[in-house]
């Protein structure tokens, strides 16, 4: 009995390691390919995804308190459809006053267009422009370019206001 048990355990161990090794190569290929194709199809580079993630964190923080580092943003494919999957670990819901305060703070920000934020944007711009320029032409891309143009306009404004 003991021997038989031992035999099974040893056999099981080898089967397991075998299986683990087997799964890796093909599944790695498939998963890497899925990610890269999603980027190819949408023209969303990892940098743009990270930017989107940051902007979403900023936006959602006004309404809920969440684990900012754990927010996950992924493109997933289900058949022909591509979906943007967002997973947000909420720590707690903010109460009315906090939300109000956050929104008011933002309104003020918009009016003043604080210099700090705009400095950041000017820093971001050259990078993103490069990314967009290197991509092939597509509808999505054009949208992206529109975005960056808007940002350039914004940053131009800041430069002007800075000069003034």
């Amino acid at each position: 009995m003991i021997l038989a048990n031992l035999y099974n355990k040893v056999l099981g161990f080898f089967r397991q390691t075998e299986k683990e090794a087997e799964e890796s190569s093909k599944d790695t290929a498939r998963n890497r390919l899925r990610v890269v194709l999603m980027q190819d199809r949408t023209n969303l580079t990892p940098e743009l995804m990270e930017r989107m993630r940051r902007e979403l964190v900023e936006l959602l923080s006004k309404y809920v308190e969440m684990d900012k580092e754990a927010l996950e943003l992924n493109l997933e494919q289900d058949g022909d459809q591509v979906a943007l999957m967002l997973s947000i670990p909420v720590i707690r819901a903010k109460d009315e006053e906090e939300i109000k305060a956050a929104l008011e703070a933002e309104d003020e920000k918009e009016e003043e267009s604080s210099e700090e934020e705009n400095d950041e944007e000017t820093k971001d711009n050259p990078e993103d422009d490069e990314n967009l320029d290197s991509d092939e032409d597509s509808d999505k891309d054009e949208e992206g370019e529109d975005d960056s143009e808007e940002e350039i306009e914004k940053s131009d404004e800041t430069k002007e206001s800075g000069n003034n």
């Binding site: 087997e22 799964e23 093909k26 290929a29 194709l37």
Partner: protein, 271 residues
């Protein structure tokens, strides 16, 4: 007669476009169809080699376009099958020697005399690809179960979908290695089909016979025993409209594999 113009393309080089072209063309001709193959890979022609016709070429597609000969004069007849013709690419010119309009025009003219016009497309997505696709209404996208080939096939499918003239495209998965798939070291046919979400027209196993058949200038569909040859013949039958099941490549072949299978069966019982 109004022939079907099918472009055979892949994006990535070296996945077997030209081999696929030579074999499907030969198989269609053997099935009694009148077939002409156009090599549009100007400057890098190879279809003539695979068919063993390299010494018979007098005029090329560039001679036709530049009106040094009639279209019919430039068609090279196959050694064995009078139903099969080749319009060769020029080896000394580049992709700009023929335009999209000129290729469209050639395809239109050939449609009247042939059942099938197979266009061999160069690798890449530049002008050579645009030219090759110009006259076609159907496409076969050749890929292999490798990441780079699948990625490029996805790009090509995107470009084909944007072309109004292309009414349908089918996927052909080449160089499938059942042993590697079995040991999970290669993406399976299902994986590739799922990732690209395209209809399948053929699964061709990796076959060393392809190398020897290229050496001889004799397409492998002429070899009755070859599994790849059978698979290509099946592709041709599917193109004609027959309902042919895909070959079962997973089934072990040969004595050693059978013995292995027997022992793995015993192991299973021990459990």
């Amino acid at each position: 007669m109004s022939g079907r113009v099918i472009v055979i393309t892949s994006g990535k080089g070296g996945v077997g476009k030209t081999t696929t072209n030579a074999n499907i063309g030969t198989a269609l001709a053997k099935a009694g169809k009148k077939v002409v193959m156009i090599d549009t890979d100007l400057g890098l022609r190879n279809l003539d080699l695979l068919l063993g016709l390299e010494n018979r070429i007098v005029y090329t597609i560039v001679d036709v376009v530049e009106e040094r000969c009639k279209l019919k004069q430039a068609l090279v007849k196959d050694k064995k099958n009078p139903n099969l013709c080749l319009l060769a690419a020029a080896q000394t010119r580049d992709k700009s020697a023929v335009t999209e309009e000129q290729l469209k025009d050639i395809c239109e003219k050939l449609k009247k005399d042939f059942d099938f016009i197979l266009v061999d497309c160069p690798a890449g997505i530049e002008q050579g690809f645009q030219n090759a696709v110009a006259g076609a209404s159907e496409a076969i996208v050749v890929t292999t179960p490798e990441m780079s080939a699948v990625r490029d096939a996805d790009r090509i499918i995107g470009l084909l979908e944007a072309k109004e003239e292309i009414k349908s495209y089918k996927l052909l998965i080449n160089r499938v290695r059942p042993n590697l798939i079995k040991s999970n070291d290669m993406m399976s046919v299902d994986d590739v089909v799922e990732i690209l979400s395209a209809d399948l027209i053929g699964i061709i196993p990796e076959d060393t016979g392809i190398i020897t058949s290229t050496n001889k200038g004799e397409p492998i569909v002429n070899d009755e025993k070859s599994l790849a040859g059978k698979a290509y013949n099946n592709v041709a039958r599917r193109i004609i409209g027959e309902d042919v099941p895909f070959l079962n490549l997973e089934e072990p072949q040969g004595v050693i594999a059978k013995i292995k299978k027997f022992f793995s069966g015993l192991k299973g019982k021990e459990k």
